[in-house]
């Protein structure tokens, strides 16, 4: 009997745009991760590895015949019953739904979980998972804070090699140079395709809504990279023929939503209120590395290490004193011809909210308009957001 999601992998070339969006929506709504469990059931050595935002080196997982699956909480799709018992009220919402999913067996087919070092909440969540899943590999993945190759580079290589060895023990595989080079090549292709998609969206925001763009990206957090590459390629073929009239809206960059994800309704509300989102950090992990990573090298682990040290994008979860984030944000605004910035962060998100005053001041120095608000993943009322985004758009359109 064909698996539930096998069809979506087999007939990419016939997909219409509507079908493509429907595929992404189904994956987004499926909290039982049917796609991943189907994929795993097709071959004995396959393993599923869940990871929390923002970034993990998925190339290593792919090279070990594992499916990296991004865990971004459950939005408003499940009630939090037991999750609240693990975190205080002044902690963000994401870990509550992740815990809830763990406790209701949504993640039972997962073989390992990775918790990248982005904040104390994710660190604590990794501890809770270690206690909850004693039979699975649970790893807090530390990243270098020192970007010199002799210091941070040595540390990170050690982290990656240890990770590869521990993951490999789950299915008896070891990391080979050829396999890792091949995986790096596939992810290079993925980032290039997503950049093309992002450029299309920035140039023709009326032809691809921010919500649909988001869902296409989000599909990349559960699909195999081969599938996602073919899927995005097909969408890029279809998009130019979309007929739509560009509305008179302002162009904004949304910043601060890199971990707990805003509800789709919020993304739609911002756009309906008169703001085309021409760039954002919703799915930052997919475009973490800027440019290609060498994929024909004798030392592919070294290539991943160098890429992290030298070609990472910017984020509030990373301190890089030599590359101030405000300069990167200003460049992002300029490159996308944005009229302003919407600082849109989850409530109680320490990294995003601590950076916000610095970024706001920098935008003011450069006379870049900005507004800010907070959300949580299960937010259901968007009236205030609509009002703020709407007045922001009016202000820029009429009085700037």
């Amino acid at each position: 009997m064909p698996s539930r999601f096998a069809e979506s992998r087999s007939r990419i070339s016939d997909l219409t745009l509507d079908e493509a969006f429907q595929t992404a929506k189904k994956l987004f709504e499926d909290l039982s991760f049917g796609y991943a469990t189907d994929w795993k059931s097709e071959q004995q050595n396959r393993r599923i590895v869940g990871f929390l935002p923002i970034y993990v080196p998925r190339e290593i997982l792919h090279a070990l015949d594992m499916l990296p699956v991004g865990l971004f909480g459950a939005g408003d799709k499940i009630p939090v019953v037991r999750g609240d018992a693990y975190f205080q009220s002044y902690i963000c919402h994401l870990p509550r739904t992740v815990i809830e999913m763990a406790l209701n067996d949504s993640l039972k087919d997962f073989d390992a979980f990775l918790f990248p070092a982005i904040c104390d909440v994710i660190r604590n969540l990794s501890g809770i998972f270690q206690l909850t899943y004693k039979d699975k590999l649970v790893r807090f993945l530390d990243f270098p804070q020192n970007f010199q190759s002799a210091v941070g580079g040595v540390f990170y290589r050690h982290e990656l090699e240890r990770l590869a060895a521990d993951l490999g023990a789950l299915n008896g595989k070891s990391l080979s140079t050829d396999a890792l080079n091949h995986s790096i090549g596939l992810y290079n292709q993925n980032r290039a395709l997503l950049k093309d998609l992002s450029n299309f969206r920035s140039s023709y925001p009326h032809k691809l809504s921010a919500a649909d763009h988001y869902l296409i990206l989000r599909a990349g957090q559960v699909m195999t990279v081969e599938h996602h590459n073919a899927y995005v390629e097909r969408i890029l073929e279809l998009l130019p023929s979309v007929e739509a009239i560009e509305a008179d809206k302002i162009r904004v960059v949304v910043s601060g939503s890199f971990c707990e994800q805003p509800p789709l309704g919020l993304i739609r509300t911002v756009e309906n209120a008169g703001c085309y989102i021409v760039d954002d950090d919703f799915q930052l992990g997919l475009k973490w590395t800027e440019g290609d990573i060498p994929d024909k090298t004798e030392d592919p682990v070294g290539a991943l290490v160098n890429a992290y040290l030298n070609n990472s994008t910017f984020s509030s979860a990373v301190y890089d004193g030599d590359n101030p984030k405000e300069i990167s944000l200003e460049r992002q605004v300029r490159e996308h011809r944005a009229d302003g910035v919407i600082f849109c962060a989850p409530s109680f998100c320490d990294p995003a909210l601590l950076d916000r005053p610095i970024l706001e001041k920098a935008m003011e120095r450069k006379h870049i308009r900005h507004i800010g608000f907070q959300y949580h993943e299960n937010l259901g009322q968007f009236h205030v957001v609509k009002e703020q985004a709407g007045t922001f758009a009016d202000m820029i359109k009429l009085w700037d």
Binding site: D248, N272, G274, T391, D394, L398
Partner: protein
Amino acid sequence: MTNETFHTLGIDVGSSYIKLALVRYGEPHQVIEVINEKIRKRNPTHVIDRLVDELLERHRLRYEDIMYVASTGEGELVSRKRGHFYSMTTHARGAWHFHPQIRAVVDLGALFNRVISLDSGARVSNYTMTGQCASGTGQFLENISRYLGLTLEEVGPLSLQSKNPAVTSGICAVLAETDVINMVSQGIPTPDIIKGIHLSIARRIVRLMRKIKIESPVALTGGMAQDIGLTEAMREMLAEADMKLEVFAATQPEAAGAIGAAIWGGYRHCKLLEAAA
């Protein structure tokens, strides 16, 4: 800015009514026609499409002849448009068009009330609005008038006849509606019931007006601004609160949002032309 005149259209989608304003943009801007249609239980998008088609036909215009179609209110329900402006921006501009001396607008809508402070150029400088409670809104007043068997047009003049206003709950629409049923059964004259309701609504609006700094004169917009009984009750409540503000109903108050959207649309059209030149 261009010296030419051209047509613009504003579409204000409220929770009860759809308002359209066809404007000839150019100094001075001329409001050619205003439409105010109750949605009832119909699909708002279909109603809007039909109203636009009929309006254009009446004026022998094609859609392409309208340089800027601007929505306001629930703009996502408007299928054909060039841009959207937010309600307070458009209500302020719509009222200012007829009364350039105003420095504040109170928009009395079906579900929300807004107090908007504006500068001498109709630019919004501050605002505040009601939360989600229904008491004190147009929908509430419409329900009450229905219970009393009155049309909305009858409510204002009746209120002015009151000699001994009844006291109602100023807190909750549900309680106020129960109050009205009790008053009817007690034989309280209808003008006194209506006046009591008006004073209750006015008290809530005046409380909202205290939240931000506003200056006189103040124009009332929205459907409820047509109710002369409510305007009078607001004056009484302002006097009671010792707030020296002149309030009056704007010209075509129910269409202020649509008129404002059409005018801002024209302004924006010129701005885009300038930027492209």
